[in-house]
């Protein structure tokens, strides 16, 4: 009896200021250029604002601030529309709703550079290394010279929709 074959996984590297995320491409609805965000009144500090995407309102979050909030040391954030981090290569990665969530709950994560596609094989996945002290990171893997974090989508859902 032959052992099951592990299919290569198409994944997207999402560079943020804190770390690079590696997520299955199937989780991502679209990568769009950074655009003006509407401030969400009385929202948490890690919500940068809300963008219009395909006629839907999509909350855009700062992964760094989410992780800072978990670690108890939130990073002060500049204004999402005018702050010094605004650069031409910044993107917003629009994610499909997280497992178990409502079908309209798309959300976006701001990147600090252009996301990159990767094909991840079982050998790479076997190279899991240290996990940072963050509840939303499930594991980290090394691809070439880069270490990337694989998010725990269930934990992220618990932060986004407590």
């Amino acid at each position: 009896m032959s052992s099951p074959t592990v299919q290569p996984l198409h994944a997207l590297e999402i560079p943020t200021r804190a770390l690079s995320l590696l997520v299955p491409s199937a989780c991502v609805a679209e990568v769009v250029s950074h655009c003006a965000l509407a401030a969400l009144p009385l929202g948490p500090e890690w919500v940068l604002g809300v963008m219009g995407w395909r006629s839907k309102p999509v909350s855009v979050i700062s992964l760094e601030a989410v992780m800072g909030r978990i670690a108890g040391s939130p990073d002060p954030l500049p204004d999402p529309n005018t702050g010094p981090r605004r650069r031409g290569n910044r993107k917003i990665v629009v994610f499909y709703p997280l497992p178990g969530r409502k079908p309209w709950e798309f959300f976006g994560i701001v990147t600090c550079a252009e996301p990159q596609s990767h094909v991840v094989d079982s050998a790479a996945l076997a190279s899991a290394v240290d996990t940072p002290n963050s509840g939303i990171i499930a594991m980290t893997v090394q691809l070439g010279n880069s270490v990337m974090a694989i998010p725990d989508m269930g934990a992220l859902a618990a932060v986004l929709y407590p």
Partner: protein, 147 residues
């Protein structure tokens, strides 16, 4: 009072929001209200028999604001008495002219009643959040208690 399928677009503090038309108990012009000339977050009151309903001044972040050149007040039903907020402009939008999508604000709800917004309309590069009228009324009533 607006109809079942209509929305009120309420502009204040340099931002605009939507309110389901069925939620508005009354929309009054400034000249029909008892304007609070003494300053403070209550912009005006609407006389209702022996009672009076407060209407609050809020900024775009829904923080209390003092004064302002508002022209309207929108009142919502609440127990023990209605509460309102003042606005620079109020516009009645037929349901056919505004597409409101469901929206769940991320994070912990800012009030005990839940999240303030239950939907949003996207168009023309603008996002208009739709208030949940029950939560908004509860928030305004809480503001009265702090005055």
């Amino acid at each position: 009072m607006a109809g079942e399928n209509e929305y009120l677009r309420i502009d204040f503090g340099g931002a605009a929001f939507l309110l389901p038309g069925r939620a508005s108990l009354a929309v009054e012009q400034r000249e029909n209200l008892l304007v609070n000339e003494g300053g403070g977050a209550v912009g005006a009151w609407r006389a209702a028999g022996k009672d009076r309903w407060p209407a609050f001044c809020l900024d775009r972040n829904l923080q209390l604001l003092s004064g302002g050149g508002w022209q309207w007040a929108v009142f919502l039903q609440f127990d023990p008495h209605p509460v309102g907020l003042v606005a620079d402009e109020v516009q009645l939008l037929p349901g056919s002219e505004v597409l409101v999508e469901s929206f769940t604000p991320p994070g912990t709800a800012p009030t005990r009643k839940g999240h303030l917004f239950c939907g949003a309309s996207v168009g023309g590069g603008q996002v208009l959040f739709e208030f949940d009228p029950n939560v908004l009324a509860a928030l305004l009533y809480q503001l009265e208690a702090t005055q």
